[in-house]
Amino acid sequence: MKFLGWKQIVLAIAGFTLIILALIVAKAIPAEALRQVIEKALTKPSGWRNILQESTPLILLGCSVFLALKVGLFNIGADGQFVIGACAAVVVALNVPGPIAIPLSILAGILGGALWAYPVGLIKAYRGGHEVITTIMLNNIAAFFTFYLVSGPIKDPTSQQPSTASISTAAELPNLYEKLPFKLNSSILFAIVCVIGLWWYLKKTVGGYEISATGENTNVARFAGINVNRIIVRTMSASGAIAGLAGALQVLAFEHRFYGNFSPGYGFDALGVALLASSNPLGILASGLLFGTISESTSVLSRTGVPKGLSYILLGVLVIVFAAYRYRKEAQSGTDS
């Protein structure tokens, strides 16, 4: 337990206190809240259905952020890439008949996400503009742009809300297993394949090694003959492509339509998922499930009168406390940044 310093313990206790305090502020009894979560979310088939459904986009977006982190970039923009991917997928799914719409929509989502991340890589590599700033800008532009689209050009004329029409049942991703109230959608397979693929690519291929080398020390990588700028642009686009895939699957598997303010703030959750996975891509599966569980737990609590805002506090505390452990560990192993 070398990385367990007293400073880290103080922070963990402070974080825990903040969460208890938040429950008290929300006029809930912490023990009762825990009982509710166990009873209604963790031990019920419907609870697990929701957890797995919530985890699917989180695992994929976690992969997206993880990949960008490997090359040393914070992809705060997974949110925007997700939204653009989802919007592109809906447009294709609404206009292409039959089951062929599924692969084409997924492709559209991947392309949309990659396209939305491409300028981030370009500006970072060739202009030195910080990726956090450009992605925050692009997130907001994506939100306003898609809101404009669903309230005008691609709006379902019969709908009161800014929303598109629903995609046809042929374009929906089928369920793997269905025994109500439990069901499992095939989109989770994409998430699992994506995690394994990411692990394989980063650990076993030259391309993956080039990414890690660039992320660890740009100058050394440059001297070793790696085209650093190209790696940055390519990795950022790939990161966007995965986020776009997550958006497309969200539409085809669960939402079946696109509407204004589509993302419930997945961008931050995705950063948490990637950070919690630490250095191993396979950890994304576990951290994605954890974040999915938190999301479902706070949903259950919100039905008993504890506002959903609690989930943001939980995630914020979790990410900060975990980052404190992680940076202490890294400082001890002698590497900086």
Binding site: K27, I76, H130, I136, M137, L138, G309, Y312, I320, R328
Partner: protein
């Protein structure tokens, strides 16, 4: 805000005057936020947590003001809340050495969650009338702050120390400066200014509502970057963004062919294009994010 909307609706009102007034209203929180970011980032602490601090301050100002029926107590509560978050950012980035971006994101999340929790739980308080200072005081404060910041950073000893610590923490350490102390002072200033910005946003609306800063902390950050981390250009960028914001308000009522979302997205687009156009020129403080 109410006042300005009425002015706009009044028949025969002068368009130029109303445009100026609403620019003033729109840009003041951005100016305060951008100056807050200037202090923090000039001392070497990346601050994407402006949004969260402004939101928390808006919430505290509204709720404490409503509960105590005293505008001064409300304003103080807002400033204190923003300062606590600012000090938390200092502790996390300087003592724990957490990455500045992760700390900022975490603070934004906690502020968003916490204020939403309070707003949804204490509905009875939020229905009370919020006692407020006249908004003009905040507008004046924003401009006074801009001049003060410029004077402080250009000509005084603490200002120059702030620059030194932000540009090269190692060298300034060798010169006998204490980056930790100077950054603490800088983040206190950040807390004060984001507190004022949040209080102004709540005052403009007359009550707190969830996520009411709606990205203005990020626009303030964009103004700071567009202004090259320098006081006057930052002020100019914040005023320009405020101008576009009020232009959108005026044009929205006139059935123009350009959608309202375009005007809302414009500050972000301009910043993006500016970042893309700066050829190999990184004007950020050199020591940004370093221990």
């Amino acid at each position: 805000m109410e006042l300005i909307l009425n002015l706009l609706a009044a028949p025969g009102s002068n368009v130029v005057v109303t445009l100026l007034l609403s620019t003033l209203a729109y840009s003041s929180p951005l100016i305060l936020g951008a100056l807050a970011g200037l202090f923090s980032e000039r001392s070497g602490v990346v601050n994407i947590g402006l949004e969260g601090k402004m939101l928390a301050a808006a919430c505290a100002t509204a709720f404490v003001g409503q509960a105590s029926a005293n505008p001064l107590i409300g304003l103080v509560a807002g400033i204190v809340t923003a300062t606590i978050f600012s000090i938390l950012h200092w502790v996390l980035t300087q003592v724990y050495k957490i990455d500045h971006i992760i700390s900022g994101m975490g603070i934004n999340a906690i502020a968003l969650g916490g204020t939403s929790l309070i707003a949804k739980t204490y509905l009875d308080i939020s229905e009370k009338e919020m006692p407020t200072f006249p908004v003009a005081i905040y507008y004046i404060a924003a401009w006074v702050a801009a001049v003060t910041v410029w004077y402080l950073l250009k000509t005084t000893r603490p200002g120059l120390r702030l620059f030194a610590v932000g540009n090269n923490p190692d060298k300034s350490r060798q010169m006998g400066l204490k980056p930790l102390v100077i950054r603490f002072q800088a983040l206190l200033a950040t807390g004060l200014l984001t507190g004022l910005a949040g209080a102004l946003i709540a005052t403009n609306a007359g009550k707190f509502s969830e996520d009411m800063t709606s990205g203005r902390g990020y626009i303030a950050l964009a103004a700071l970057i567009l202004g090259g981390w320098k006081p006057w250009p930052t002020l100019a960028a914040a005023v320009a963004f405020g101008f576009f914001g009020s232009l959108q308000l005026i044009l929205q009522g006139q059935n123009s062919s350009i959608p309202g979302q375009f005007w809302q997205a414009l500050p972000y687009l301009i910043t993006l294009v500016a970042l893309a156009g700066m050829v190999g020129k990184n004007r950020a403080p050199a020591g940004l994010g370093q221990p």
